[in-house]
């Protein structure tokens, strides 16, 4: 039997039982729709989150105090001995292939101006902080590149702080009080928006040394280091480790390359997408049961036809192929309809709720269609085998 004939024969029975075929296909279609919709949203979120993180660039290394066994954790906050300092950051900056190494320490503090008080986030950093945050200065300038240990009391405002405290006024040159100390405003940042729950606009930026003093901390929370793109990550990590061990006498710090962190985050998000897709897969199973039912009915109804085919010289395997073909055609068409529906609804959702990111990778579509076909195949096996094994004489006698 030639392949086009197989298609022709299976389509003929598909068309002969239009309504029934439609409903059976619908079962699979709904399953695929659910899978595609859910994974599209999952993948959309995945890409959204990764984009949020990688806007800071991917050749970043975070240096954190304390040695942890697993990446990401940070026990340094509790250890008083294990600290990293502004001097460490300065030393790191002189390493080859390092673009910048910016100290970082943050917390909340009260900011006062002209009788108005606001509790905001205070980030202590260095001259390169805007590059770390991928943000721009709107007016004035950012913290100067000066000896961090002799840092002057200068402050740069987030756009929201500026609005709340200086509505309409030019803040440049004014003096603020942060935690009781006077700071001179030298710049205002452009609006940046939320980042993982932190309002980066409701923030003020002061020199790291000042922030350490303000929060009464012995050491930095983190050093943001950026290496030249094209430089080998491993050798950069090695030179950082050597330098810091040299300075500290032991390895009491943790290096977290952004690349690695993104990888870990990515795989976590993948698992979530997969789990959500599997949830949709349950409805696909229900569709499979529908196909099983319909094909079982079809074999019973068409017993005489099966006997005839055998009399005309059809081998058992040909009868098997024909019925499997029908089951697969049902599920393949249902799957395609589901794909269209799933992508359609996902895009529609995105249109109405632009904040909801959706993305349907080709691979997902192909995998979904393949799983639809495999479900058709699996559901078709039992009825098709029954058809193939019918005794032709018996089959011909039923009418």
């Amino acid at each position: 039997m030639l392949f086009p004939d197989l298609i022709r024969l299976t389509t003929s029975s598909f068309l002969a039982y239009r309504m029934r075929s439609f409903l059976t296909g619908l079962g699979i279609a709904i399953g695929i729709t659910a899978v595609i919709l859910l994974t599209s949203i999952g993948e959309g979120l995945h890409q959204f989150v990764l984009a949020e993180f990688s806007q800071f660039g991917t050749n970043l290394i975070s240096i954190q105090p304390g040695k942890t066994q697993t990446q990401g954790g940070n026990v340094g906050i509790f250890g008083s001995v294990k600290t990293i300092s502004i001097e460490d950051a300065q030393a790191l900056r002189r390493l080859p292939n390092v673009e910048y190494a910016d100290p970082s320490v943050s917390g909340n503090a009260e900011v006062r101006f002209n009788g108005k008080t606001r509790r905001t986030m205070v980030i202590g950093g260095g001259h390169d902080l805007p590059r770390v945050m991928a943000s721009l200065v709107q007016t004035g300038s950012f913290l100067p590149d000066e000896d961090p240990t002799q840092a002057r009391a200068l402050v740069v405002l987030g756009s929201k702080v500026r609005q709340e405290l200086f509505a309409g006024q030019n803040p440049l040159g004014s003096y603020l009080r942060i935690g009781g100390q006077r700071y001179r405003v030298i710049g205002v940042m452009e609006a940046k928006g939320q980042m993982l729950g932190f309002d980066l606009d409701d923030t003020v930026y002061i020199p790291a040394a000042r922030a350490l003093e303000l929060f009464n901390r012995p050491g930095l929370m983190e050093i943001h280091l950026s290496y030249k793109s094209g430089a080998d990550l491993q050798s950069v990590l090695r030179s950082i480790t050597t330098l810091l061990i040299d300075r500290h006498g032991r390895e009491d710090f943790t290096l977290v390359p952004q690349e690695k962190a993104l990888e870990v985050l990515g795989s976590v998000l993948d698992v979530i997408t997969f789990a959500v897709g599997a949830l949709g897969g349950i409805s696909l199973l229900v569709g499979g049961v529908g196909i099983l039912t319909i094909m079982t009915m079809a074999v019973t109804e068409r017993t005489a036809e099966i006997g005839l085919l055998r009399a005309l010289g059809a081998r058992e395997s040909q009868v098997l192929t024909l019925f499997l073909g029908e089951a697969m055609l049902l599920s393949a068409l249902g799957g395609l309809a589901g794909l269209a529906l799933g992508v359609g609804i996902a895009q529609g959702l995105h249109l109405f709720i632009p904040a909801l990111p959706v993305h349907t990778p080709w691979l997902f579509a192909v995998l979904a269609e393949l799983s639809a076909i495999s479900i058709g195949l699996a559901a078709g096996v039992m009825p098709a085998r029954r058809a193939a094994r019918l005794d032709p004489v018996e089959a011909l006698r039923t009418e």
């Binding site: 005309l312 081998r315 395997s317």
Partner: protein
């Protein structure tokens, strides 16, 4: 050439063995025209099914064109059916959702005959059986006589050497039945072996050889 040597066929019914065919010895030459008659339940259809390789004897040997076909496996038997045997049934057995042309094409499809060859054969058959203008009609749009003509066209599409017809006129009126018999008889002129089961003595009497069956046995053979 069909040869039956001590062929028996029995069925188990409720734990009891029912003999449908008893010790049949039979030889039918290529191109023979044979009718089988006998009362209901005498084993005519069972005999035909055995000849058509749809069924296997309980004992005995069946040789087709000199080869022992009882020894073949299912797949090999299907091949022999496809290449050498054509069936015509009382109830036509057309596939209701396929057009007349496609019903005729079915054995060719199953045998994997290439499309151009197939088209030619189907067109020729449609013409031979006066069905050209019915080619795209489905069975429920055809008369009984037309349906049986489609069935005969289908049975001959693979150029079988043996044509088995089990009461082919059973569902037709007399005139139409006569026409169908004529069509079948024409085939014997092309050296096709025709084996015809019938209840109608007038039809059965036309065959060169007439077998009468009673209770699973051939009780008389008439040659004309």
């Amino acid at each position: 050439m069909i040869q039956f040597e001590n062929v028996s066929r029995s069925f188990m019914v409720g734990g009891q063995e029912v003999a449908a065919l008893r010790d049949i010895n039979l030889s039918i030459a290529a191109g023979d025209y044979v009718s089988i008659m006998g009362p209901s339940g005498s084993g005519k259809s069972t005999l035909l099914n055995l000849i058509g390789l749809l069924d296997r004897p309980s004992s005995g040997i069946y040789k087709l064109d000199g080869g022992n076909v009882t020894a073949l496996n299912d797949e090999q038997q299907a091949r022999v059916r496809s290449e050498k045997i054509g069936f015509v049934f009382q109830s036509f057995h057309l596939v209701p959702r396929l057009t007349a042309a496609m019903n005729i094409e079915l054995p060719l499809i199953l045998a994997g005959i290439p499309v151009p060859e197939r088209r030619m054969r189907v067109a020729q058959l449609l013409q031979n059986y006066g069905l050209t203008d019915r080619a795209d009609h489905r069975p429920d749009q055809l008369s009984g006589g037309q349906r049986q003509r489609v069935a005969i066209a289908r049975a001959t599409s693979m150029h079988p050497s043996v044509l088995l017809a089990d009461e082919p006129t059973g569902n037709l009126d007399q005139t139409t039945g006569r026409e169908v018999i004529n069509l079948l008889e024409q085939l014997t002129e092309q050296n096709v072996t025709l084996i015809l089961v019938t209840h109608d003595p007038a039809i059965g009497g036309r065959a060169k050889r007439q077998l009468h069956m009673v209770d699973g046995q051939i009780v008389s053979k008439t040659e004309t």
